[in-house]
Symmetry: C3
Subunit: 389 residues, 3 copies
């Protein structure tokens, strides 16, 4: 009987302890699982801000092309999200992830597509951007499946790429270079894309929106308990690349370039993508500094030489913001993450480069069938009213 | 005794299972109920971004009127939120909803007011916007009470309008048309409001902010478990209207209109409002496409004809962005939602039209007492310094 | 046996009641504690939006200095966040708060630094902003430690300053005035900083972003159950200051000043900082109105007289937006909060003023060693390309 009383008192304790919780559980549709999904939803909205205002305004610097850039951003997002959902509904049956995970994966695909489009910005008409989206998403999904879900059995180990340095940033940038390589005409190469001198502040707005929400991009799919640590790693990497960009820009150019500040500041976010959930704060800061240096060096030194050498134009310099820092991030994981599967990680990088480059070259040829131009487009070819940007 | 041991082991299992939860419950003020409210708060902040940056910048296109538009946005929000709270504290006693629900409902009222103000933008002085707010909120609250809370016993069934296609969008647009109708002078009709040619990018910024946070607007008050589904429906509807707007704009005008892209892209969000928590993804996408077509057709074809016919001016074309797609959304529910109460839904639409139109006409007459103008206002009539927009 | 059955049925009830919760607890890393931290993370991201887009764009009004302002904002944030983290890792051992709390406290330091920098905007080169950051953070942390954590034993009672009217706003503003006082040369005083006439809309964008996310700033560290109440108090205070600013601006100047609207509208947020978690809605609205009046009076009347009197320039008028309303907020707590410790609160205000002023004066002298200028800087001294802002 005394034992029985003990059991009862223990039970009472349990009941009292969970009192608040049990009460709360009566709210219809409220549970830890549901609230966890809503928190993912919050991060999904942050990513949406990056896709539209972030990427869109960062790219508003081509002369007389502001309306086109923002409209293209709208169209690329609107074609890629439903397309990825469609793919999921056909092939995603075994995927037990909730629909909010699918939304975030679809946004990742849209981000990679926007990076890709940055390489040929100003060279396509609106319907060609749509075609680019239609061709990009299947290849992106193929690479994602091979690298992260062991598709085709090419990679059997675990690839470390939480925030997508490899599968989002490097893939998008290299795909874009492929498209540019097969589309750039000789005349195009000679007709430089002019910058709009009044748009620095717009570009910096886009840059800041990307910086602000980058932690949500990288922590979008991590478990709640790991979100704070991941976010702080990303923020420290961004602080590192911002400081490094300022010093490198002054050092390499003599004066600061506003384009460096708008772009290379973000290289830390790109490079920390692979290891954001696993690195320690100090390492994250160091990766950010390194990425800022590499990216600024790319914009200030490599870009001109490579453009001259290859006679190919990468309008937004996506190779220097997303390509190099993305590869850097994927390789940094080999050093930073203890017990990493070297073979899997390196194969992932190699497969990504091969699929992105070849798919980009093919897509460029297909898109060129719908027209190719020697001089950059301006707004008033496709838009009503005079171009004032 | 064996039974007793079994009971004890079961109890131990329970204690261990809820271990993490019980520990967490010790955090002061942390409970599922509290966290659910904080998540609503997050969505309330998203809506605030829509009210100020979204609506404010979308409307920054009237020539030499940028400062006035943004200041009017500030004032309309600042007068309507406290007013709605005041109403709640007098009439909301029986309302068991928490204060965070009241905040969201107040924001809905502010959104509807901003839609209404869009119809007469550029025709009012600042104190007239304030008066408009003071007159609008009581009528809005009356209609909301009748349609959603069975006020006066006019509607006894359940009206399907989660995201406010009817009570927010259609109500605001029709109220605004009423104000415009009773205020527009003959001279005003003949003095077209000129667009500021440099403000496309500002309008697109406002448009994108509305697009980004629209899922939070529609899912603001739904249960946590339904948020992901609702959000994805809204996003698919917006993708649909964005793609449809591009095609319709090119088809109907020959070239793309940046104003169509800034406005009609959002029609999917307006139209999915009623059924966002109940539709399936495919249907949401279709409703979005239809809304984009209807809205672009409104801007490109109906607007000019109706303005000529009625000699009345709707500055921002709110009838084509919020009026028509709002009514479309309310009616779409009749087809999409199984077991819907036809009588209740149709009565709700009818009541909304009648209250909004008559209250708008009355308010216009009252506001006109404080002054009415034949030519549009410009910034420097009310603001220091030269107008540079 | 009957008792035993009762116990078993009670146990079953418990198991069923916590069914959903127990199921949810199986999600790895999901617990009330983890979700509570993720919600703090969400508010931390909101604050980041305030730091970069909010403060950055609010200050984009100095002629030909847009790129510099936004780059300085980037650098100030990127130097202060890691520095505060570094401090925590050395001195924060006894601090049991999670890393997400540290991130929010670091953001508070960055906000205070940006306020401070506003006082000398346009007078420093980029490396001087960095030096300002390096000098500011230690003094800020010292004051925070004395006022909020009983450092040195100067204050033993509880200081009411949830949203930082005293330790963030007043501290930053007074520190900035100190720097300006020891750096302003006679020629500088005579060379007024010219406003860029096209930047009203940018300033209003920054202002609106600050307005939107201010509730998250003030409720960043409060318990989940208190977030809704705190947020609504902040929103009502902002509504109050926005309405008051409009009326005061018209009354005091004859016409509305766009700078008043961009700045003084926010004074309600500054002043409600101390009491945001404790005041009732009506009081919050009243504090907001009072703050709007005081701030607008500062900008419209005091600023010119004080500048003439002291021959010192406060570029952004931070004393009128953050200084006066911050002190007002700290003092308002004496009236609003029942049972407040008068001695502690008043000592906190006094200590903050003394540390901020003396540290500011010292820092100004040190920064002046690296160069001091008689005329304001413009973008193209440090940036590539022609200044177009």
């Amino acid at each position: 009987m005394r034992n029985y009383l003990k059991a009862l008192s223990l039970l009472t304790t349990v009941v009292l302890t969970i009192g608040g919780v049990a009460h709360a559980a009566e709210i219809p549709g409220s549970s830890l699982a549901a609230l966890t999904d809503v928190q993912k939803y919050e991060r999904a909205i942050h990513i949406m801000a990056m896709l539209l205002v972030g990427f869109g305004f960062l790219m508003v610097f081509v002369k007389k092309y502001g309306r086109s850039t923002l409209t293209a951003t709208y169209l690329l997002v609107s074609v890629s999200l439903p397309l990825y959902f469609l793919k999921e509904s056909y092939f995603g049956i075994e995927n037990s992830a909730g629909i909010i995970d699918t939304l975030i994966l679809a946004e990742f695909a849209a981000a990679s597509l926007l990076i890709c489009a940055g390489a040929v910005l100003g060279r396509l008409k609106m319907h060609q951007y749509l075609l680019l989206g239609l061709m990009f998403v299947p290849f992106y999904a193929l690479n994602e499946w091979i690298v992260l879900n062991c598709g085709l059995g090419l990679i059997t180990g675990k690839v470390v790429d939480t925030g997508g340095s490899i599968v989002i940033h490097a893939f998008g940038a290299i795909f874009g270079l492929g498209v540019a390589a097969s589309m750039t005409t000789h005349q195009e190469y000679e007709t430089a894309i002019e910058c709009d001198e009044t748009s620095d502040r717009y570009s910096l707005l886009g840059s800041m929106v990307l910086w602000i929400f980058w932690p949500s991009f990288c922590s979008a799919l991590v478990a709640p308990a790991d979100v704070p640590k991941t976010a702080i790693n990303v923020i420290l990497a961004l602080c590192g690349s911002t400081l490094a960009t300022y010093f490198a820009s002054v050092k390499l150019r003599g004066k600061i370039s506003a384009a460096d500040i708008a772009n290379a500041t973000l290289a830390g976010g790109v490079a920390i993508g692979s290891t954001c959930a696993l690195a320690v704060p100090g390492t994250s800061f160091a990766i950010g500094i390194l990425a800022g240096l590499v990216s600024t060096f790319g914009f200030a030194v490599i870009q001109e030489k490579l453009t001259d050498l290859t006679k190919k134009v990468d309008t937004c310099g996506v190779f220097y913001l997303h390509g190099l820092p993305g590869l850097l991030g994927g390789i940094a994981a080999l050093v930073v993450v203890s017990g990493i599967d070297f073979a899997a990680q390196l194969t992932a990088i190699l497969v990504t480069i091969i699929i992105a480059a070849s798919a980009g070259l093919i897509s460029g040829k297909v898109i060129a069938v719908l027209g190719s131009r020697s001089v950059p487009y301006v707004d008033n070819e496709e838009f009503e009213g005079e171009s004032t940007d």
